[in-house]
């Protein structure tokens, strides 16, 4: 945890649409350390995938990174030439995608595609690449790797395809691997295997992993540190244990509350977060979570909270924070989590 390998500062990604500007990523700042496994969680549309794509300048049209800096090995990835960023993609920072079914080219042999990732960066000769492809497939635990290299993607199972994608991502031994919901399209047992594999690779190869997911369980299993994103902003960040034990932002708290529990009572309803994710064309004034927050106070409607250190290494952007909600309202016993349900806090009582 010495020096960060990747520093993201005030990243801004916008989509210009006919109706106005959508701020998909709005001032995201974080560091990624050597060999670390960082989780980015949030609902659909919270900007987590866009953050990842912005790092490699892969934001699709009409989106554009309009501000901020992405520092990697003393250069700003947002300023380097197209040729330089192309060299960094896949060689230093690799990415694996959500749906292994559609992320592999259907008409090319799987092994060929992995070898190509190496050849694209002239990391190996053709024979070396072929050799290493088999090693990589073994490394990601694909059985009968020697014969599997010639298989087309449709001949592999979903789990095997994702393993092949991971092998492709690891082909050039990158220092950072961005995994964009790599387990979403897989069934639960395969999910567990893939996560275990990623964890092992993280440990053995020291590849830093950015894990993007909406699944808190995935984060708990793999990550050491978590960023929670909401409406294009980081609302909470900290070590995974702290975030799970004592979340400080009501949004994080709600996310954790909505994890289905194995020990739930038979007829207990699944918890969800009331309301819908905000329209990023017209984000709510004040705190962006306030329309859905059970603990909102007057100030939340008008003033936007900054991300501040609540406890050592744990940051949250909230006027109330869960410590206070627990102390004053018994938040953890709260059953009714509709917006404003627990807002017994008088505006005047707020000590600031």
């Amino acid at each position: 945890m010495a020096s960060p390998i990747l520093q993201v500062k005030d990243l801004q990604t916008q989509f210009r649409t006919h109706d106005g500007i959508v701020r998909a990523v709005d001032g995201v700042t974080f560091d990624l350390y050597h060999g670390e496994s960082l989780g980015i969680v949030g609902e659909s549309g919270s900007g987590k995938s866009m953050t990842a794509l912005s790092l490699l300048r892969l934001v699709p049209d009409p989106g554009k990174v309009v501000g901020g800096r992405v520092l990697f090995r003393n250069q700003d990835l947002l300023q380097v030439t197209d040729e330089e960023i192309r060299e960094i993609r896949g060689r230093d920072i690799a990415m694996i995608f959500q749906d292994p079914q559609s992320s592999l080219n259907p008409v090319l042999q799987t092994g060929f595609q992995i070898a190509e990732a190496m050849l694209a960066h002239k990391m190996a000769s053709k024979t070396q690449a072929r050799q290493r492809t088999i090693e990589l497939l073994k490394r990601v635990r694909i059985p009968a790797a020697e014969s599997r290299v010639k298989d087309f993607p449709h001949q592999l199972s979903g789990g095997m395809r994702q393993r092949a994608m991971i092998a492709m991502g690891l082909a050039n031994a990158p220092s950072v691997l961005i995994a964009d919901e790599p387990t979403t399209a897989l069934d639960v047992t395969v999910q567990a295997q893939i996560l275990e594999l990623l964890g092992d690779l993280n440990q053995e190869l020291g590849t830093a992993i950015i894990m993007i997911t909406h699944n808190m369980g995935v984060v708990a299993g793999l990550c050491t540190r978590v960023l929670v994103m909401y409406a294009g902003k980081i609302v909470e960040q900290g070590p995974v244990d702290e975030i799970f034990d004592r979340p400080q932002h009501p949004y994080t708290w709600s996310l954790l509350k909505s994890i289905p529990r194995v020990d739930a009572l038979r007829h207990e309803r699944l918890r969800s977060i009331e309301g819908i994710a905000p329209d990023l064309l017209r984000p709510p004034a004040g705190c962006r979570f306030h329309p859905r927050c059970p603990f909102r106070i007057e100030k939340c409607f008008t003033d936007e909270p900054e991300l501040k250190e609540i406890k050592p290494n744990q940051f949250a952007s909230c006027w109330v924070t869960m410590d206070r909600a627990r102390a004053e309202m018994g938040a953890d016993q709260l059953l009714d989590i509709r917006p404003g349900a627990a807002s017994g806090l008088e505006p005047g009582k707020l000590v600031d």
């Binding site: 896949g90 690799a94 008409v107 994608m165």
Partner: protein
Amino acid sequence: MAATAAAVVTRPIAPEQASLWSDAWRRLRRNRLALAGVVYLTFLVVVALVALIHTPYPTYEVGVGIPYQGPGGQHWLGVDALGRDTLSRLMAGAQISLIVGVGTQIVVLAIGVPIGLAAGYFRGWFDQVVTFIINLFYGIPDLLVALILVFLLGPNLTNIIIAIAVTRWMDMARLVRGQTLSLREREFIEAARASGAKPSKILFGHILPNALGPIIIQATFGVPAAILFEAFLSFLGLGVPPPTPTWGSMAAEGIVTIRIAPAMVIAPSIALSLTLMAFNFLGDGLRDALDPRQRR
């Protein structure tokens, strides 16, 4: 029990490599019309090759038979106005038709595919310019363009191929552009970009192989269109200049004397029709074979 389990793991699970092409070939073989087309076209290619080294009579030699003589034992398809053997000339004409048909499509592919790929992938001003030029070419009558080009460049085989290709490249460019537009949004293209692939690699290594099916089909339908166009130019007297035998010019020579020597018109016309039909059947068969989802 343990031994069997180990055997299952080490043995390749998919025994047969059912590639796209072997799959397509299997489906094509089941299509009788397409198969008939393949057989006929193979026959035609063999005839054209044989004509290189041997024809019943020398192709250009006049007076090998009595002019206007009908089909018979000595001359199976009769003799033309100058006393040349029609069968020999028909065989040599197959060369011209095949060269024009295939040659035109090679030029069309060489122009249309890169332009379509680039326009569909990079979009922006380049795409707008390409689309504009395509529409422009669609607006001008193709016969006029071909006639002017042949007139300017001079009537010989190469120039006729170029002239026909110039009037035919737009279909290919538009098809490839459309395919590229839809393929570029697919996730594996994003994945390829994320792994640092060069634009040229993405275009020719990832997008083109996925668009190959429609391209092959389009090219197969393009061949008979080009053959017909050449026959038409030759019929008008603007094709490959005489005495080189082409089906179009043979029909043109015969049309004046159709009442006394109908074989002179009928023979090249049937050869032309069969060839066009064969290519179209093959094209249909390929479409069904390469895109099984489109089949009812």
